[in-house]
Symmetry: none
Subunit: 195 residues, 4 copies
């Protein structure tokens, strides 16, 4: 990585948690100056404007979440264990894997009516997440772990939605009580599909 790429990466790493916590509109370039200890000019050397930096930060946050989740799940072999691990990964939204919480719900709700580009970025990740889950289920069906008549796409959507909704509930509550409920019940719904 060249010096320039290194600095660019450094800026994104420092900016990402700010954007994910305070929102895109709520984060000022001066906040990022402070976090990076870089000059105003330096930021603009690496990013044409705030929007482009914000986009990079959104990508970074989503990739970081994705990577951590993927690494975590790679420890598990069976489809059932992977699904359970997914649920356990999101067990406490007050202690999120990515500072500020799930970037999909954060940037999705901020951008849906105001920023087409970010909205589309989030949409892709939302689709990818559901596909990630349904693929696990499909493998589970193919290798005889799960009942063959289980609908992988539908359950992936339900599971994804329920977890995201659970994140909302828990973050405003400041407690993960309700995510525990969701965790237990989704595991039950999975368990009944096991052969």
């Amino acid at each position: 990585m060249s010096k320039g790429e290194e600095t660019k990466r450094f800026i994104i790493e420092k900016a990402a948690p700010l954007f994910n916590t305070k929102g895109i509109v709520g984060t000022a370039m001066s906040d990022i100056m402070e976090a990076t200890k870089l000059s105003k000019g330096s930021l603009y050397v690496h990013f044409e404007n705030k929007d482009i930096l914000a986009e990079s930060a959104v990508d970074y946050n989503m990739e970081k979440l994705s990577t951590q989740l993927f690494n975590n799940l790679s420890n598990f072999k069976t489809a059932k264990d992977k699904l359970y691990a997914y649920l356990d990964f999101f067990i406490d939204p007050t202690q999120p894997a990515v500072t500020g919480g799930c970037p999909m719900i954060n940037f999705g709700t901020e951008a849906d009516d105001t920023n087409e580009l970010i909205k589309n970025k989030v949409n892709k990740m939302v689709i990818k997440s559901q596909k990630f889950l349904s693929d696990i289920i499909k493998v589970g069906i193919d290798n005889g772990e799960f009942k063959p008549d289980w609908n992988p796409d539908d359950f992936a959507t339900m599971m994804f939605a329920m977890v995201e909704g659970g994140i909302l509930i828990c973050r405003v509550a400041g407690s993960n009580d309700k995510m525990k409920v969701i965790n237990v019940n989704l595991k039950k719904m999975i368990a009944v599909q096991i052969l």
Copy 2:
């Protein structure tokens, strides 16, 4: 209603969709001036500052959603029909009952890390929403509509979370396809509890 209260109400009505669409930070007092055709000074006659106006707008949006939902459900008599009506009420997040979409997910995600007061307001509404659903289920159990061993609180949390997650999915997708999936599957989950 006095002249002052009328104007105050008028300002809230005009400001509420702005805040729910652009966010609190993303909405400027000048946006509200334009929407109300009132002068800057006039806005401050009725609201001490932007935060207080924003709080009123958050309340208004949540009450509006609440009222519309309540009125809609009052058309239905059985617990099952009420639950189905709830799901149908949220069937298309791209055409929301309240401009800007669900205020709980919008303001909840904006405020969770930055605005304690709004966060608590949303939390109360989130709790109330789950209680609203679990109360319907409890009545259904009491009057013999549903199986007595069904857990009302757990299902209310799951249903609420899934709908909110579905709203996120659909709003970034610009389509309600996935909400239809959620709608169908939640109805199935309800149906199996019917005696």
Copy 3:
């Protein structure tokens, strides 16, 4: 006094200490609303605008000081005792007779470059104050209390100036130590003129 005159007087009484403490520019009509618990419109019924109210307040503050000083000195008979009483009246600028301190130094310094009308009001009072002192001395000379070659006008100016300067010193110091010095030394200067 009619109702209108009474309210007008009431407003001045409440506004005077505000203007004398925070200055004319530093005092807002809203400060006066708060202090009087009167409505904005009511203030403007009695005073055409802020400047006119400020002028009344300046007058009131100076008259109040004047009256208190005059009443205080009327307890004393000899010219010497009157001069001493004057000095004692101003002995502690941190506990001034008029809230905010001497209105001549307060409004004089604020207005000298910016408000001709107020400047002239203060000037008249400054002249009157010196005349008040020199008249006492003149009476003292005429009745044989003081040496006939004492210059009443010059000493009045010196004494007035020294007391005003002492007020400045003490108010920024938050202590009347230096006024005590001035008090003692001016009394000595007076004493040597006694026959």
Copy 4:
């Protein structure tokens, strides 16, 4: 001096007479924009806020007065000549050495009840001024110019107070007549102490 320091200095130089003439509250950032021909943003590059700029301006005005006085007095050798020169330096308050007049009386009266920081700044300068005068007297006593039983601290306070009071009288009068009186009489009080 770096570019930034130069601009900062330039702003202070332009702002100082404004603050000293119109007062801190009475001077708007827009006045300083106009005086400097700089943009609003540029002002805030160099000063965090108006208060900090005002503090710098207060310092500048007091240092300017101090320096001019000091330079003026350095032309004189004897203690008597220095004291006389001090009095002559302040002979015409309508043509002050520092635009707006003596910053101690200007900022002291504005700040005494409203701005602790500025009040303390002025207090330090007031104390320094009196010490400056008493040190001259002490040197005069030590080298046999003045009578050894003269009280330097007391006279310094009286002289300082009388000059400041004289400034007030003259500035509201728009004439230095009374300062001439003070000048002559203080010189007489000094003269009688000469050996």
